[in-house]
């Protein structure tokens, strides 16, 4: 993979920083040079940090008229050659969904940060939620394969934003940073290293920009202004971009490749973080801010002679099905605390026959370790 190491644009060292701000720093480090956004709580701090940082590095910032305009100009900028990003929360994602589907079919790399708040609808704007787990995957119509990562710390708001850019460029897909209000507004230590690993989109002048010989390949991506006579369309298209709106073979080939180019290489994307799992009989699966409480819960259960362990999902999409299947084989039951009514718990059941017990909480408050301990003790087999 053409990964290169670049000097960190932020001086290496220790910082005390907010999650949303660390996300903006990660974007700059990854090479993001275009940001379009619209104000929304609890994601606005990403935008405000980007105004200053893009100005420092000679990038482009624009506050658009709405979130539809934001995702649209991000896609337009990406085809003009930019690593481009927007950040929003649930209501903004709802407005962006059609554009996200367009980015999928046109294979446009872009990063979308979703600092989740309590929904549905306007819900509680300043309170945390994890209710967009399914929306980012299944929001657009038709079939989609996208990438989504869920940070649990300020450090990961930085690291996973960089990773999201690299994966978006590598696979030519929209990549989501699925954060939540609690981690977005959290302030803690960020360690910035001297060098950053970044992936730049693959170019091959003259080659078809929308097809490969392999059924799971990622084609090279030219930019506007390079003399390639690019034909970019959200309609079904052949490998050169010509609209083929009634050709079933082209439709089948395109839709299959859009899925397989991510799924077949999901081992490059999927990341899990195991804690105390070696001898665990009780499994806990958690992600984002909730995983911090889950780790605390697992540790206190251990003190109570209950062999519990945590599998933290760092990546959400594509889903870590194999890791869940393995966990299901060794644990008597799996508990899934999350700030929604069991969205990811339901996904687990596709991959394991072990009992999966959802520990949902949707009152707009974070899940506390004691609640997880109590939920597990109450439902222990």
């Amino acid at each position: 993979m053409p990964i290169k190491k670049v000097k960190s644009p932020l001086a290496p060292g220790w910082y005390f920083m907010q999650g949303d701000e660390a996300c903006a720093e990660g974007a700059i480090a990854a090479g993001c040079r275009f940001y379009a956004g619209y104000p929304i709580t609890p994601a606005s701090e990403v935008m405000i940090r980007m105004v200053h940082r893009l100005s420092d590095v000679g990038g482009v910032f624009i506050q658009m008229e709405d979130e539809i305009g934001s995702i649209s100009s991000v896609i337009g900028a990406s085809w003009a050659g930019a690593k481009a990003m927007t950040a929003t929360s649930g209501p903004g994602i709802s407005l962006m969904i059609e554009g996200i589907g367009y980015a999928v079919i046109t294979e446009t790399p872009c990063v979308i940060v979703d600092v989740q708040r309590a929904g549905p609808s306007t819900g509680q704007a300043t309170r945390p939620g994890q209710g967009d787990m399914m929306q980012v995957k299944w929001g657009p119509h038709g079939d989609n394969e996208i990438v989504a990562l869920a940070p649990w710390s300020v450090q990961e708001m930085y690291d996973l934003t960089i990773k999201a850019f690299n994966l978006a460029e590598r696979f030519r897909v929209p990549a989501f940073l699925l954060a939540d209000e609690a981690v977005g507004h959290l302030r803690e230590t960020l360690v910035v290293k001297e060098e950053v690993e970044v992936f730049d989109r693959f170019k091959a002048p003259g080659q078809p920009p929308f097809g490969t010989n392999e059924p799971n390949g990622v084609p090279p991506m030219p930019s506007f202004g390079e003399g390639e006579n690019l034909l970019v369309t959200g309609s079904t298209h052949d490998e050169r971009g010509f609209r083929k709106t009634a050709d079933s073979a082209v439709q089948a080939r395109l839709t299959e490749r859009l899925i397989r180019k991510v799924k077949d290489f999901s081992s490059e994307i999927i990341e899990t973080d195991p804690h105390l799992l070696r001898d665990a009989e009780i499994g806990v699966v958690a992600y984002g801010f909730t995983a911090r409480a889950a780790l605390q819960a697992v540790k206190s259960l251990r003190k109570q002679e209950i062999k519990a362990g945590l599998l933290r999902l760092v990546s959400i999409w594509p889903f870590a099905g194999e890791a869940i299947a393995q966990l299901g084989k060794r644990c008597r039951s799996i508990f899934v605390p999350e700030m929604n009514q069991g969205q990811v718990a339901g996904e687990l059941r596709k991959y394991t026959t072990a009992p999966v017990i959802s520990l949902p909480k949707t009152n707009g408050e974070v899940i506390e370790p004691g609640e997880i301990v109590e939920g597990i003790r109450r439902n222990m087999p």
Binding site: F34, E65, G76, A80, F224, N229, V232, G234, G241
Partner: protein, 260 residues
């Protein structure tokens, strides 16, 4: 000149998808003629369009970079591309429904920002591709598939909308007058800042046949006869202007660089 224009077209794009009598073919040629006469390189052009019949004018016909976007969003996509690469000469070509109804928000804000791009609105006063539904530009009283008793709503004056939103060049021409149309497009393209050209284009298939135009020829002739140059319209009473469409240049603010 014709040979030059043919080289600016993707041969695979023919035959065009436009209905017999559609005005979009004339506009398709006029844009290329304007670019050829200005001696602009198609390799520095970016054509952006939305969804609908007019959106197919550049994509896939034009041999240049084209971005065929979502319904209504062309101007916002164009904004991102232009801001990141100001060297691109960006032209949006799309329909009235696309630009002024579903995409109205992006249109007025790009005009307000004075983004350096040209927006060409092919106005046929109807939703053609989807079966002749009423548009935000359909004249009062016109029969469409969703207003069988006549349109009860007033239409937008798109040029006034663009002007009020801050566009620094605003003009209107019908495809029935291809020479003034080409001249207008050239002025819009060389304009620094946000330029807006409303191009009146007949749709005999979805509009004309439901509104007493028996043939495509009758419709384009009526369009030509209804147009009155802005210079001539000055001093005429509203009574004298009834049934007339004022064409020409309405805003020409020179020397104002656009945001890019």
């Amino acid at each position: 000149m014709n040979q030059k224009i043919l080289q600016m077209i993707n041969p695979q794009a023919f035959p065009t998808p436009f209905c017999p009598g559609c005005g979009h073919g004339i506009l398709m040629g006029a844009v290329l003629r304007a670019i050829a006469e200005l001696e602009y390189d198609m390799k520095q052009m970016l054509f952006v369009s939305g969804i609908g019949c007019a959106a197919w004018i550049p994509s896939p016909h034009y041999k240049a970079d084209t971005l065929h976007t979502l319904h209504g969003r062309a101007v916002a996509y164009a904004t991102g591309a232009k801001l990141f690469n100001p060297k691109l000469k960006v032209m949006v070509i799309s329909g009235d429904g696309d630009l002024s109804s579903i995409g109205g928000n992006h249109l007025i804000h790009a005009a307000r920002r004075n983004i350096d791009m040209t927006v060409v609105c092919a106005n046929n006063a109807i939703y053609g591709m989807t079966g002749g539904q009423v548009a935000s530009t359909t004249p009062l009283g016109s029969v469409t598939t969703t207003t069988p008793k006549g349109n009860p709503e007033r239409p937008f004056d798109l040029c006034k909308l663009a002007e009020a939103s801050g566009a620094t060049y605003v003009a209107r021409q019908p495809v029935a007058l291809p020479i003034p149309l080409t001249r207008t497009l050239k002025n819009a393209i060389v304009h620094q800042g946000f330029s807006f050209v409303e191009v009146l284009s007949p749709c005999p298939t979805q509009f004309g046949r439901r509104n007493a135009f028996r043939t495509a020829f009758e419709m384009i002739k009526a369009l030509r006869n209804s147009c009155i140059p802005v210079e001539k319209a000055k001093g005429l009473t509203p009574e004298e202007l009834r049934g007339k469409v004022i064409v020409g240049e309405f805003v020409t603010l020179k020397g104002k660089g656009g945001l890019s």
